[in-house]
Structure formats: structure tokens, C-alpha cells
């Protein structure tokens, strides 16, 4: 709770700084604030919250609606990804020099929403979290006002997002109608007792909620917005969308289905398995045909959503662990790749020709991050994938076979980019990397290697 309040206050302060045109101090303040909050979250802050504002938590209805402790792994992941992207924004926000502070504030608000969305205990909070996360995103996606594709991206995301929100809300309302409660424990008991589960209204509600959440994570067949929105949005915002938002979306999804509706796994598991297979195939196959690194990363993020959905379908006890490990590997890999993208400012594969000669370290970073995304050992992406496969194999062996076939496809488009960077001849101008970006890339790459060699700490978190 302190984390959320702190984050909101930090966002408001950042916004005020924009008002006073103190542009230079925005980034240090946000970074220090986030570091402080991370300290609070990692230390005692989260665990001694019986009393707040003089009220006991269990006396107050609102404070009971979410519980940050229950999935500290995902919250930590959101905070760390957010922090890295904030540092990256030092260069990433260059396109909107006058609105730096506003953008930082929006990003912080969006993170608030993400944290709420992964720690709800009440479906009302699920809805509010998703909305608090999404509304700043609509603005951020369209924040490059002079760029038509950014405008398109914002509008598209908003229209389709609003539509999906409608589904989500309708679904939640129907579930409420069937069970008489928004509280996930009560709904769990309802489904556990299997009393009136066959009721059409409840099933309708689950399906509608599923549609709403699948839209947010960009799974097939609700993925069509992803490539356009991701490509159109400014690079830094895309990196935010493909990491923090995805983490939140999956957090919400697994606590809804693998937590609350766990007893009904038999009924919805197959659906998720099919959706997961479709998403993996579609994402990977389409990514092969891309000629732009950014669009390729967008499609690969669809593909990764497919891999993650496998665990949701499997519905085992290890789902949160597998998801957190995979998301950590995926987020670090994506952020590193986007950091390279932001540094060069170029989107097409051709622009990466000869990157190895222009800046060796940048090319090494790109190579490691892409190999990790492809799941090559000993990097984090491999550990994530391995754990995913072990979690899923017992229930859906065929899904694992599809996953490895699509992984084999995916190596092709990741290699294409690595080949451009090392083996093709291109311009020879050296690339300057700002210190902040160096820091972010270094953290990501070391993280990828460390997680690949020692995944234990992350597994303990979840």
C-alpha cells in the first residue's frame, strides 16, 4: 500500500515539476523516487501494514481490495522494468522535450495501474487497475504529435482498448450477477463448490473477461492492434508497453484464471491451450516476414505471449513461478533490444547493417538480448522456456511440441537481425551511446546472464 501511495505521490510531484519547467531535475527525482520505493517494497514496507491512517486494514473495505504481498515477484518486476525504462527515457523522450515531466508522470501513473492489476483481491480493483494502466498509455502512444503513425497508434489503441474494456467490464458484471460478489475468495468458493457453475450467465462472464484480458496481452485472435500500435508509438513507449503492460496483463490473467477459477481448469484450460498454440504460430510465422526490427519485436512479443499462455492453460501449481521467470527474462531482453533501438533511432534491419563495426559493445548487447529472447542457453530466456516446458509438458505435450517448432522458426528472425549487425556492410559512423543507456543495457545484459546461470532468487520471489 505504501508503494502505491508513494508511486502516486511521486507521479503528482513529477507533474508539478513540469509546471515549474524544472526539466533537468525530473529524471533524477523520478529515478531516486523509484529507487526509494523499490527499497521500501523489497524491505519491510510491504509486510507491516496492519495499520494504516489509524485504521486496521481488515476493518476497511477499500484496503482489503488488493494485496501487494501475494505476488511480490510481479510487483518487483514491474518496478524494475519501470525503473530501467525511466532511465532509458533520458534519451527516449528527446522527441517531446517540452513534455518530459508529463510523460514521466503518465508513466508512473501507468505503473500504479499495473501494480494494482497484479495485486487485486477484488474484481473491481482488477478493472480499475487495468484502466489506470491503460488510459495514460493511450496518451503516451500518441504523444509524438507531429508523427502521423504515432497519432494512428494512439487512436487505434484507444478505440480498440475501450472496446476491450467494455468486454472486461461486462464480463465482470455478469460474474457478479452469477456469484453475487466481486471478491475473488468468494468467487473461488463459489466455483470450488461447483454449485451453479453451469449457469450460462457465469460462463458468459468468464468468456467476456477472457476476451478483455487477452486483448490486453495481445494474444490471438485479439492481437491485431499490437503490431500497428507498437510500431507507431515512440520507441520508448513501445518498450514500456511490451514489458510493463504485458507483465501486468499476465499477472491479472493468472490470478484470475489460475487463482480464482483454478477449480474450473478443466473447462477453460483447452481454450487457452488452443489460443496459445494459435498465438505462438501466428506471432512467430508473421515475425519472419518483417523487415523492421521494431515490428519484428512487436510480433515476437505476440509470440512470447503465446508461450506464456501455455502455462496459464496448464494451470499447475508452478504457474506463478514459471510466469515470473519467463517475464523477467523476456522483459530484460526486450528492454535491452529496445535500448539499442532507441540509441540508433533506426527501425529497419538494413539500418543495423555493420553495427558491429560502428559500436562493438552495442552489437554484442543486441546479440545477447536477441539470443536470450530466442531461448539459447545459458541465457535467461532459455531458463524461462525450460521451466515453462516442464510446467506444461505433463498436461499438454502437443503444446510443447508446437512451442519448440515455433521456437525453431523464431531463431530465424532473431538471427536475421544478428546477421545484419555483424556480417553485412553498412555505414561506418560510430554510434555514441549516452551514459544512461549504457547503464540500462549493462544491467539488462548482466541480468540476462545472471538469471540464466542462477534463476533461483527469482523463483523464490514468486
Amino acid at each position: 500500500m505504501k508503494l502505491l501511495i508513494g508511486l502516486s505521490v511521486l507521479a503528482v510531484i513529477t507533474m508539478m515539476m513540469g509546471l515549474f519547467k524544472s526539466r533537468k531535475f525530473v529524471l533524477p527525482v523520478v529515478v531516486l523516487g523509484l529507487l526509494g520505493l523499490l527499497y521500501i517494497a523489497s524491505g519491510y514496507g510491504c509486510y507491516c501494514e496492519d495499520k494504516m491512517f489509524g485504521m486496521y486494514i481488515n476493518e476497511h473495505q477499500f484496503l482489503k481490495m488488493f494485496d501487494i504481498n501475494k505476488n511480490s515477484g510481479l510487483v518487483g518486476l514491474i518496478m524494475i522494468s519501470g525503473l530501467l525504462i525511466t532511465i532509458l527515457a533520458h534519451k527516449g523522450f528527446n522527441y517531446t522535450e517540452n513534455h518530459r515531466a508529463d510523460m514521466h508522470a503518465l508513466m508512473l501513473f501507468s505503473m500504479c495501474g499495473a501494480i494494482i492489476a497484479v495485486s487485486y483481491t477484488n474484481m473491481l480493483m482488477l478493472f480499475l487497475g487495468i484502466e489506470i494502466m491503460s488510459i495514460p498509455l493511450y496518451i503516451m502512444a500518441g504523444s509524438n504529435k507531429h508523427d502521423a503513425s504515432s497519432n494512428e497508434s494512439g487512436l487505434k489503441y484507444f478505440l480498440l482498448g475501450a472496446f476491450a474494456t467494455g468486454f472486461l467490464l461486462f464480463g465482470l458484471a455478469l460474474i457478479y450477477g452469477a456469484t453475487g460478489s466481486f471478491n475473488i475468495n468468494q468467487i473461488y468458493n463459489y466455483t470450488h463448490n461447483q454449485l451453479n457453475v453451469s449457469e450460462g450467465i457465469f460462463k458468459m462472464g468468464v468468456v467476456f473477461t477472457m476476451v478483455g484480458l487477452l486483448f490486453k496481452i495481445g494474444a490471438a485472435p485479439f492481437h491485431f492492434w499490437t503490431p500497428d500500435v507498437y510500431t507507431g508509438a515512440p520507441n520508448i513507449i513501445t518498450s514500456f508497453m511490451s514489458t510493463v503492460v504485458k507483465i501486468a496483463g499476465f499477472g491479472a490473467l493468472i490470478f484470475f484464471f489460475n487463482g480464482m477459477l483454478h477449480p474450473l481448469g478443466e473447462e477453460w484450460g483447452k481454450t487457452f491451450a488452443i489460443i496459445s498454440a494459435a498465438t505462438m504460430i501466428l506471432g512467430n510465422v508473421t515475425a519472419v516476414y518483417q523487415i523492421s526490427l521494431k515490428r519484428m519485436l512487436a510480433w515476437s512479443s505476440v509470440a512470447h505471449a503465446g508461450y506464456l499462455l501455455m502455462t496459464v492453460a496448464a494451470n499447475g501449481n508452478n504457474v506463478p513461478k514459471a510466469v515470473v521467470l519467463y517475464l523477467a527474462a523476456y522483459s530484460l531482453g526486450s528492454i535491452a533490444a529496445f535500448a539499442v533501438l532507441i540509441t540508433t533511432g533506426k527501425e529497419n534491419f538494413e539500418d543495423y547493417n555493420g553495427l558491429g563495426k560502428r559500436n562493438k559493445w552495442l552489437a554484442i548487447a543486441l546479440t545477447i538480448s536477441l539470443l536470450s529472447l530466442a531461448g539459447v542457453p545459458p541465457l535467461a530466456g532459455f531458463m524461462g522456456k525450460y521451466y515453462l516446458f516442464t510446467t506444461v509438458y505433463e498436461q499438454y505435450p502437443w503444446l510443447v511440441i508446437i512451442a519448440i517448432c515455433t521456437s525453431a522458426i523464431s531463431i530465424y528472425y532473431y538471427l536475421k537481425c544478428i546477421i545484419a549487425a555483424w556480417f553485412k556492410k553498412g555505414s561506418e559512423d560510430a554510434v555514441q551511446v549516452p551514459l544512461t543507456t549504457v547503464f540500462v543495457i549493462l544491467v539488462c545484459i548482466l541480468g540476462l546472464i545472471a538469471l540464466g546461470l542462477m534463476p533461483q532468487p527469482v523463483l523464490d520471489l514468486a
Partner: protein
């Protein structure tokens, strides 16, 4: 302690990130020789009579909640493989000195990384650790082939990468399947160690073993390569730079065969011991097919590539017979094939460096221009022909004998390899070395001192191991006997 074999080259390859210019080749040679000396030291303290499954064993917990540990060790077979790796790496590094590649630091760094991975593959006794090293070897060899390779290298090497990567992923699933069948330990987890996986395989029914067999077989079949998974191989060998080809054919391919012995047969014991012949048939198709195509080629590197396909098919077939002879022959032939094929590619590289071509129609008359090269090349060619008193003979004889004991017709077909090999090898040697001097070979120089030593060492080994192969039998005997008891060989 044996773990240093992995960490010395690994450390050296990281060092190469910070080295610039021509210093690289000396440093690379130094580290690879240190590794060679160290592995010879291990050989000298290896106890051939020991009852232990693995000597010099190391075992550290790695990811406890996933049942993975960093454990490994050496038995006779893996010791031979480690020796081969660490012997060939300095040879390969030295062979590249005459034509220093562009960006030498990166090049030698990748070779050492490869060496670390290979040593890891041969020492690992944990399923996931084996897999990790198995994949680690792929990255450096791919970079070597794709960066320093010849014409048309990028599509060819992408094909190579995707092929092997896909094959390995199937193996990963196979290992996971076994892993999930291992008994749960006190810690509440399954176990990934070799012994545990073997136990799990034993408790499985025939259908389960069949699944495991084919999933894991995919990875090794691509790497060896077994027909019909070989299509990446000739092209990749041809476009790769010489050191890359030597690494691929000399050592990396042995990973596949070693994998079959250590990680495939013990995991499907009932299946393979009940006379499962399909893999043998596939291998023998490869033997004939590779030999037949090699006869028609005019590119020397292609001939060597297809000959490798043919020879290795025979080794794999010998293993799948599950006889002592087959296994013994395979082990000895793995070592010898590694030496011979590296010698062959080395000779081809030296000729190409001097004449600028590998095309047999443009070569000829080398005997009069470069007698030293011709003589040493001859010895190596005889070695791969399996002429008695050269190293190829012992292994090939045992392998054919083992196939004969299974099925006489298969042995007859596999025996064609000897004839085919004589045809394409002698044709290669004849067209390149004898005949009239052509414009390409007109001003050819003979070997310099370094090259003579390199070729000389290989030629010497061809003869020594041909006359006196006993040390290899001694080292591997215990391991093969253990294998016999676990698999109840015929």
C-alpha cells in the same frame, strides 16, 4: 579439478573481448596448449581399472528447485573425447596461422569458447548441463562459419543453425519427459542427473521409451548427421573457413556420436536391446549415399564432407548394433576419424592456400612441386582408406564385424564404404597430386616448417594408432564393460 578444462578456455575467451590486433593467435595457442597439457595430466592420473563410473567427478548444486546440478566427470569414453578436443584445438589454431583471419581476436576467442563448450559436453553428467553446453558450442561455431566463411555463407549457415537448434529442442523435450518421470527426492523435486534419468527410463514402458528415443535421437541425428537429416552438412562444410570445418568435422560431429552412447542408448534400454533396426538402416543409407555422392564431386572440400558423412554413418551404425565390437570400434574410430578428417581438411586448405582453388579439374602435378605435402597427404589418405597398419583400419574392421553379427546383408552394403572410399579418395589424390602441372600449381611452394610439423604430427598419429591402438582399448575398456552390464549387450 577436471572442471578447469572448461573454465580455462572460457576465461580465455572472455579475455579476448579486450584484446586487439595480432597478439590473439599467440595467446590462443598458449591457452589451448595449457589445456592440452592439463588433459594429458588427467590421462596420466586416470585409473583404467577403477570401478567408479566417473573419475575426477565434480558436483555442485546449481538450481536446486529444478533438480539441476553442475556435475560431471570422466569415464574412458569421455576422456578420449576430451583428449581429442584438446589435442585438435591447438592444431586447428596453428593451422590458421598461415592465413590470419580478419579480426583475429574475435576469431580465436570464439574457438576457445567452442573448446570450453565441447569439454563441457563431454564431461557433463547432468541432463540440463549437457544440454546447455551442447547449445553453447553452437553459437561460436555459427559465428566462425558465418563471419569468416566463403561465398553464399549466410543462407547456408542459417540453415545449419536452425537445423541443429530445432534438433536440440526436441532433445530438450525428451530430457524433460524423462526428468518428469524421475522419482521425487526429499527436497520435493525431480532430479536431472544422468543416473536418475537412466533409472526413470528403466521404469518406462516400451511406448514411453520409444518417444524418448526419437525425441533425443533428433538432436544427435542432426549433429552426426544421419540420413535424412544431413542436408545442412556438405554445404556448411564447404562454405566454412578451414578451422571451422575442422572443428565441425573433427570434434563437433563426435558430440553427436558421444551423445548416442551416453545420452540416448541408456535412456531407451528395452527398445534398443530388442533388436530395433531402423536407426541402423538409416545410418547405412547414409554410408552408401555419402560415398556415392563423393565419387561424383570435383570440389575437394565437398569430397571430404561427403566422405565424412559416409564414415560417420558407419560409426553410428556400429553403435546401434549394441555389440561390444561395435562400441569398441566406434570409440576407436571416433578418435581416428577426428584425426584423419582434420588432416584431410588441413591438406586441402594448404593446397587451396597455395593454388587458390579446390577444383580437381584445375589441379595436378603437385607431387613434383611439393613432395613433402604429397607424402604426408598420402599417409592421411591411406588412413581414411582404412588400409591395414593405419589408424582407420582397426576401427572400421570392428565396426563392419559388429554389423555382420547383426545382419549379413547390412554388413555387405555397409562394406561398400571401403570400396567407395578407395574410389573417391584415390581419385582425389590422383587428380590433385599426379598428372601434369597446371597453371594453378605451376609456382606452388612446398610446406614450410610449421606446416610440416602440423601435418607430420597428424601423419605420425595415423601410423602410431594404426600399429599400436592398444592404449585406446585400455582407456575405454572399463567404460564399455560398464555399459555392457547396464545395457546387457549381446
Amino acid at each position: 579439478m577436471a572442471v578447469l578444462l572448461i573454465f580455462i578456455p572460457l576465461f580465455a575467451s572472455i579475455l579476448f573481448l579486450f584484446i586487439k590486433g595480432n597478439m590473439g593467435k599467440m595467446i590462443a595457442l598458449t591457452f589451448s596448449v595449457i589445456n592440452l597439457i592439463f588433459s594429458i595430466y588427467l590421462l596420466s592420473s586416470f585409473d583404467t581399472q577403477s570401478d567408479e563410473a566417473f573419475q575426477f567427478a565434480f558436483n555442485e548444486p546449481w538450481v536446486e528447485s529444478l533438480g539441476i546440478s553442475f556435475c560431471g566427470g570422466l569415464d574412458g569414453i569421455s576422456l578420449l573425447m576430451v583428449l581429442l578436443t584438446n589435442f585438435l584445438t591447438p592444431i586447428i589454431i596453428l593451422s590458421s596461422w598461415g592465413k590470419t583471419p580478419e579480426y583475429p581476436a574475435a576469431f580465436y576467442g570464439l574457438i576457445l569458447l567452442m573448446q570450453a563448450g565441447l569439454n563441457g559436453v563431454f564431461m557433463a553428467t547432468d541432463g540440463l548441463l549437457f544440454y546447455v553446453f551442447w547449445e553453447i558450442t553452437l553459437i561460436p561455431i555459427w559465428f566462425i562459419c558465418a563471419y569468416w566463411g566463403g561465398e553464399n555463407r549466410i543462407p547456408v549457415t542459417i540453415k545449419f543453425f536452425i537445423y541443429t537448434f530445432a534438433g536440440s529442442l526436441f532433445m530438450l523435450v525428451g530430457l524433460i519427459y524423462l526428468y518428469l518421470n524421475t522419482p521425487i527426492e526429499i527436497t520435493g523435486n525431480h532430479n536431472f542427473s544422468w543416473e536418475a534419468l537412466q533409472m526413470a527410463a528403466r521404469s518406462m514402458d516400451a511406448a514411453g521409451q520409444q518417444i524418448v528415443f526419437w525425441l533425443i535421437f533428433m538432436a544427435f541425428a542432426v549433429k552426426i548427421p544421419v540420413f535424412p537429416f544431413h542436408t545442412w552438412q556438405p554445404e556448411t562444410y564447404t562454405v566454412s573457413p578451414a578451422p571451422g570445418t575442422m572443428l565441425l568435422s573433427g570434434i563437433m560431429l563426435k558430440m553427436g556420436i558421444y551423445g548416442v552412447i551416453r545420452w540416448l542408448l541408456p535412456f531407451s534400454p528395452d527398445l534398443v536391446s530388442s533388436g530395433y533396426n531402423l536407426p541402423i538402416v538409416l545410418c547405412i543409407i547414409g554410408v552408401v549415399y555419402g560415398g556415392w555422392i563423393a565419387i561424383k564431386q570435383t570440389d575437394m572440400k565437398k569430397i571430404a564432407a561427403y566422405s565424412s558423412l559416409s564414415h560417420v554413418g558407419l560409426i553410428a551404425a556400429g553403435i546401434f548394433t549394441l555389440t561390444i565390437d561395435g562400441l569398441q570400434g566406434a570409440v576407436i574410430q571416433m578418435v581416428n576419424h577426428g584425426i584423419n578428417i582434420v588432416g584431410l581438411f588441413l591438406a586441402i586448405e594448404l593446397i587451396e592456400r597455395r593454388t587458390g582453388t579446390r577444383d580437381l579439374s584445375k589441379l595436378g602435378g603437385i607431387a613434383s612441386k611439393a613432395p613433402k605435402l604429397s607424402v604426408l597427404f598420402m599417409i592421411i589418405v591411406l588412413g581414411s582408406l582404412a588400409v591395414p597398419l593405419t589408424n582407420g583400419f582397426v576401427g572400421e574392421f570392428l565396426l563392419l564385424k559388429s554389423i555382420y553379427s547383426i545382419n549379413i546383408y547390412m554388413a555387405a552394403i555397409a562394406g561398400l564404404t571401403v570400396i567407395f572410399c578407395a574410389v573417391y579418395m584415390l581419385r582425389l589424390y590422383n587428380l590433385a597430386i599426379f598428372g601434369d602441372v597446371t597453371s594453378h600449381t605451376a609456382d606452388m611452394k612446398d610446406l614450410n616448417a610449421r606446416e610440416t610439423i602440423l601435418m607430420g604430427i597428424i601423419a605420425l598419429l595415423v601410423i602410431i594408432l594404426g600399429v599400436y591402438p592398444q592404449p585406446i582399448f585400455d582407456i575405454s575398456k572399463q567404460a564399455i564393460e560398464t555399459f555392457q552390464t547396464t545395457l546387457t549387450l549381446k
